[in-house]
Subunit: 263 residues, 2 copies
């Protein structure tokens, strides 16, 4: 049976994979993490588009019926360009998060945090304005958050201090809703929440992305009718490192991660 294909620059997309598995337990999943070229957040638009196309071509060879771009940088830079080139539906992580944030905000002030690439692309801002032109968006790149998460610095004074620096413009703007525009950031939720204050709503798009995937497969009559999906994990480098980080992102170790030489 055809699978749902998911790709990310590395491990972050596992937060999305986890939600898809939770909501669609009967679907087969093929996940690809481009760990040989990680991170994408500091790379240019042109390069992220090239990498994304290569990743999609790999997934298509695995017989996927739908592709989820589980990486905010790739969704920001590449999705607008690539989504019309392939026959399979391609879902990114931006639109579902935007929809939820615009729905959640009361004071029409939304904050967006992400990698340098995501923030530079202004994709979140554009999509929010399209949905509600009255919303004021304040965006901030948080480039040290990804290394902190990957190195396991999830709490303590160091990461709090960096978070206070990065989030200052959002606090100053009085946002009541903040989009965690990078799949690594949900792991820093307690820190981010403490800096922003407990009344600010944090939007983690993984759940919404999974809803979207379910909706499309359902409306196109493409849901798997069998029971118990199989999950395959591929990486372009370091399967052991990926497996060990999976614990942090999915709450469990992965034992069947395979290295492929496609990139």
């Amino acid at each position: 049976m055809s699978s749902i294909g998911i790709f990310d620059s590395g491990v972050g997309g596992l937060t999305v994979a986890k939600e898809i598995i939770l909501q669609l337990p009967n679907e087969n999943i093929v996940y690809f993490g481009d760990t040989a070229r990680v991170p994408y957040g500091i790379k240019s638009r042109q390069t992220v588009i090239r990498f994304s196309i290569e990743n999609i071509l790999f997934l298509l060879k695995q017989d996927v019926k739908l592709i989820c771009v589980a990486c905010n940088t790739a969704s920001s830079f590449a999705l607008p360009v690539i989504k019309n080139h392939f026959r399979a539906p391609i879902i990114g992580v931006i639109t579902p998060g935007v929809r939820e944030a615009v729905y959640a905000t009361q004071n029409k002030r939304i904050g967006v945090i992400g990698t340098k690439g995501t923030i530079k692309s202004r994709t979140y801002e554009t999509e929010i304005k399209q949905l509600d032109p009255k919303v004021k968006v304040t965006a901030a790149a948080c480039p040290l958050f990804v290394p902190f998460v990957e190195e396991g610095w999830l709490k303590g004074e160091v990461v709090m201090s960096v978070a206070r620096t990065y989030l200052k413009p959002l606090c100053a703007a009085g946002v009541d809703t903040v989009i965690l525009g990078c799949t690594h950031y949900p792991l820093l939720k307690p820190v981010i929440q403490e800096v922003l204050g407990k009344n600010v709503i944090l939007i983690d798009s993984a759940k919404q992305v999974a809803f979207e995937v379910k909706k499309i497969l359902s409306s196109e009559d493409m849901l798997n009718r069998g029971k118990g999906g199989r999950h395959k994990y591929y990486v372009s480098d370091n399967p052991e490192w990926f497996s060990s980080l999976a614990q942090r992102f999915m709450g469990r170790k992965l034992t069947n991660v395979k290295k492929v030489d496609n990139v």
Copy 2:
């Protein structure tokens, strides 16, 4: 005229390029920074070897007479494998640093800091032991140092606190000499020196690498006899980002950085 080829995963190797230019002002230089796939420090041995070979093939196409691997991770993982495959002499950054450290230590306790890859490879340890089996080596990976340098967090309580955590085993071991085993680390010298104490000697191999390059070109009668070398800079992504960081690593902006699509 043939050039000296230098490659690194990104901008760090510019600290080495700067020294080579200083000591060999009449040599032409071709620098390649693999910014599309940076960083190398978290990638596997096998992948770093593949990337290094690709980088060398690119440099050879630019008519280089000698290659300098200005990246500790590539020198650790790839140099032992690749150095006999090519006709041009290939110089890494490990051996020159080791030589200086073994010469400098009084109490025969040397510390080594570097990326995860460099420390995992144990190349520094092996080379130090070969030169002086009595030396006790204490090694520590400092994975957040590279992002700190690239993001410009070069001082302050955050980076001091992280440095204190990373350098604790070196302090405990009572090392009197520490090899800065990553081309980014010289920019954190003040922080590292403060944590280790002012009597600890910090070895930055860039100068020694340049001596080595000069010695080999001289002994092989390959020095450029013309005046005023030309310097070319190529990257696989983000020439603007590279140019702006050059200020931090070389003390001046580079205006002639060219993006190439070879990787």
